[in-house]
Amino acid sequence: MSEPPEPAEPSAEPPAEALPESLAEPLAEPTAEPVAEADPALFAHALRIAEALIFASDRPVAPARLAQALPPGIDPRAVITSLMATTAGRPVGLVEVAGGVAFRTAPELAPAITKVVEVPRRLPRVAMETLAIIAYHQPATRAEIEEIRGASLSQSTLEALLEMGFIAPRGRKEVPGRPSLWGTTPRFLEQFGLKTLTDLPRREELVSEPAPPLSA
């Protein structure tokens, strides 16, 4: 990326600060002992490898995959933390998503990008509700989704979610008829910028709004 090639880049040094909170949980236990023993030149090289590897991929890169590419003895989490710090605020920054890290454009640049890049249509309300129900109740059968919504679910809605890769079958429920069970995919996490399913608001938080808006 368009990082100016400052030779003595401060970011090339192993991070002294604690890991950002968001990173701490899903990716690793924060490495308490300082990684600073690593040779700074080696760490700088590791940063270059990490940047190239993550940049080349169109899917999030898991720390384990990153570790395979890094020189031995380099902690992938330290590299990620450092890369996150240096790319923060840049037009293309490193974010944590779907169990890994990926480069993403800054949201405020979207209006300019969408002038050129085609944008898919928004999901209809039914599909969004179905997706939310599957996310919270997974694995869920179609009948269970219909029960919650109090309305029948068209096959086309389910097919659309399947085609976009947001949901996937998760076996069958051992009840008469053995209906398919549905769950969300890593692609779903990616679409909505979630690190893990636990990033979804808790149910209590969903009802916490004191009074539903009158406008509804």
Binding site: P107, I113, T114, V117, S152
Partner: protein
């Protein structure tokens, strides 16, 4: 009854539960504290208006209406300990369903507000191939080699010119000779099958021998040496030596 907000657009609702949730929201209180009875009245009123406009209503609306009417009647009378179903519990189950639907609505709205990939944020448009395929190796092992040999040989052998199977067919001449030889020793009626040569196992050869023997028998019967008898179609064919004394007068000859 006087709900001017609802323009009888039942089509706009995703089923009865959706309308109920909308009505409950209009009570402007926590879903836990809504008045089920007021809710039922409102629901039935909306449905009544809708039926005035058009008679046909989807079954699930009518089922819900009937159930709600029943629920209301139970809620209005003092609880009866003998009653099997507890109306209060049913009402609270309904509230729970409404609350869950509301939560899922909020979850969907929360998701919809997120920056979405391909809309608000973008990933790498043209991923680079990070896999290099090393195709220098060859996937072939001994079993595959042996299978290939066997397959090639079998195919080549199968392609040789076709030589029909040699058959030993029991001719009519054979059958005449055998019949003539055996008939002298025959005391009484015997089944035609007994005159077949022995040791035939091939079904085709058996049938050929049977046909030849039948023709031979017919021929011999015509000569007057034997008699043939068959009681019914496909029944056993019986053979016996013709009695020389009582010459059966040939009707046609007479």
């Amino acid at each position: 009854m006087t709900q001017p907000v609802l323009h009888l657009r039942l089509d706009g609702f995703e089923g009865p539960l959706d309308l109920l949730l909308d009505l409950a929201r209009a009570q402007k209180v926590d879903l836990e504290k809504i008045s089920i009875i007021a809710l039922v009245d409102q629901f039935l009123a909306v449905l009544e208006q809708a039926r005035r406009v058009r008679l046909e209503l989807a079954a699930d609306w009518l089922v819900m209406a009937a159930w709600l009417a029943w629920l209301k009647s139970r809620l209005l009378v003092p609880p009866d300990p003998a009653e099997e179903v507890d109306a209060e519990a049913l009402a609270s189950a309904l509230t729970d369903r409404l609350a869950e639907l509301e939560r899922m609505r909020l979850a969907a709205a929360w998701l919809a507000r997120r920056d979405q990939l391909g809309r608000e944020v973008f990933g790498r448009g043209a991923a680079e191939q990070l896999r290099i395929e090393d195709r220098s190796g060859i996937n072939a092992d001994l079993p595959a080699l042996l299978q290939a040999y066997a397959a090639a040989r079998r195919r080549a052998l199968a392609r040789r010119p076709y030589t029909p199977k040699h058959r030993k067919l029991w001719t009519v001449q054979d059958a005449l000779a055998r019949l003539g030889r055996l008939i002298g020793a025959l005391p009484d009626w015997a089944v035609l099958h007994r005159f077949l040569p022995e040791g035939l196992t091939d079904p085709v050869e058996q049938r050929a021998a049977l046909a030849s023997t039948l023709i031979a028998a017919l021929e011999t019967a015509r000569g007057g040496a034997i008699e043939l008898q068959q009681d019914r179609a496909f029944g056993p064919i019986l053979v016996r030596r013709a009695a020389p004394t009582e010459a059966i007068p040939d009707v046609r000859a007479a």
